[in-house]
Every structure is written in structure tokens, then in C-alpha cells.
Symmetry: C2
DNA sequence: CTTTATGCAAATTATTTGCAGCCAA
DNA sequence: TTGGCTGCAAATAATTTGCATAAAG
């Protein structure tokens, strides 16, 4: 598990979904891949900056937007700022812990009284029992 | 079902939760009571304005914040802007339809694999079958 | 080459804060 | 009376847009 940017992998992925594989998009995907929890555009920008890979904040916003559009990332509209997370290709919905921000991807349907659940916010098992 | 401001009722309610029953808070509660779906602070402000009851936008923000703090309203952090809705006193969680914004209050627990659901976003039965 | 993406600066939009005056209890 | 509440103006903060330049296919 190296920490180098896996350029080829992201370029292929971007090609698959039909958008240009630019340097910036690869970098953003790389940062997203390092996180299991959703992160904000500002955070992506900051991490790339620290990494010595300057990128326009505007570009980060436009990139996560594009990535969301083609289904590679999921948007979590938080209070104050939106956060983003890489998404598996399979159809799924999410369980999001409001304490630790853990995201669980679930493939099976969760329905309650005819209501079709897509995003479930709550408290995960670990946080419930006190971490 | 009259449309006049039910001042006494809101004053009592505010007294119960231990905050001052000001003119503005009563007005905000009145607007909230007219809506079954969550509405934004800006919308509350606009409706009071049209109604000829000018109120500072700042006050609206501070009011919904206070009301949320004492448990009278629930905050739904949407993309872009937060929305607010009057809440019943009983312990409950919500099902929120992303299409029609319908909110269903549910008293019984909804848990999935040890995850405790508090807010469930998805599609309501009506919208699923095409309105 | 041609189209699409980038990035800076400026504009928008939602929300918060400072502070002086007002009002409910 | 008096501490909490209001509202204006100004400050923040996140996100978007215009436009000229750069890079991908």
C-alpha cells in the first residue's frame, strides 16, 4: 500500500465514466481515496496545498461536482458545508453516523412503511456503546 | 380553523419551555404552524413581510435557533440553506422525502444492524408511485 | 486543432456578530 | 428595573460565475 498517486488507476476510471483525465481530477480522486469519511472541498484543497500540489479552490468545487455527476462521489450536504466521499459502483444507500461521521454503504434495500430509505443519519453501533 | 395569530397559545408554549414570549417569536411560530414541510429562515422572513409584519432577518435566524434549542422546532440542514419545522413534544425521529419534502414523524425506533436511525431521507410512498 | 478544464478575481448567498436601543417579566 | 431581545450594518464563509489562458484527446 504505497502513498504515491495512482495516476493510471484514476485516469482509467475517469475515462470509463467519460470525462477528461486531468491532473487536478486525478489529484482530487487521490485525496478522496485516502479518506473513509466524507470531506469538504476546502479540506481537499488544503490537503493538496500541503502536499505541494497547488490547485484552484474553484477547480476543486467544479471537480467534486463533476465527479458527483458521473456517480464517482457522493455528496453529503452538511450544515455549513457540503462533504464528499468516493462511492462504490454498485447500487447502494448510506448509513451516516452523526457522531463519528462513519459512512456505511448498504446494498440491500431499507424500507419502512412504503418509505424508501436512501440516506440514514443516526448513531453507529460503536458510538452508541461509547466508542 | 381561523387564520388569525393564536398569540395566547404560542405565548403559553414559549413560557413552558422557559424563554420570553416576544412578538417576533410568536409570529415565527405562527408561520411555522402554517407549514407542514420544513421552510427556510428566509422564507419565514418573506412571509411575515408580505403579511405586513416586518421582522429583522437576523431575528428570524436567532429565533429559529432558540426554538430549536428548546426543542420546539427541528432543523433540517439542506444543501444551500437550512430549513425548520415545528416539532411534536414526544420523542421521535423523521422520514423526509427528497421529492416532495414531506416529513413523517415516527415514534417507534428504526434500527438496522445496530445502527440507530434518527433521520431517514428517501422517497415517500406517494412519490414512489408517481405522486 | 477543437473542445473542455483551469484559475484568478469578483459576485452571490446564507448566516453570524457587534452594538445601541427596546421590551417582557 | 434590567437582562434578555431586536434590528441595523458590517463581517464571515461557502460556493458560484465571468473570462482569458492552458491542456487533453
Amino acid at each position: 500500500m504505497c502513498k504515491l498517486v495512482d495516476t493510471a488507476r484514476w485516469q482509467a476510471l475517469l475515462g470509463d465514466v467519460g470525462i477528461r483525465a486531468t491532473t487536478q481530477r486525478v489529484l482530487v480522486l487521490d485525496v478522496l481515496a485516502e479518506h473513509t469519511r466524507p470531506i469538504s472541498a476546502q479540506q481537499i484543497h488544503a490537503e493538496l496545498y500541503e502536499r505541494g500540489e497547488p490547485i484552484g479552490l474553484t477547480t476543486v468545487y467544479r471537480t467534486v461536482s463533476s465527479l458527483a455527476e458521473v456517480g464517482l462521489v457522493h455528496v453529503f450536504p452538511q450544515a455549513g458545508e457540503a462533504t464528499y466521499r468516493l462511492c462504490g459502483p454498485a447500487r447502494h444507500h448510506h448509513l451516516i453516523c452523526r457522531i463519528c461521521r462513519l459512512v456505511i454503504e448498504r446494498s440491500q434495500e431499507d424500507d419502512v412503511d412504503g418509505f424508501h430509505a436512501e440516506e440514514i443519519y443516526g448513531i453507529c453501533a460503536a458510538c452508541r456503546r461509547g466508542t
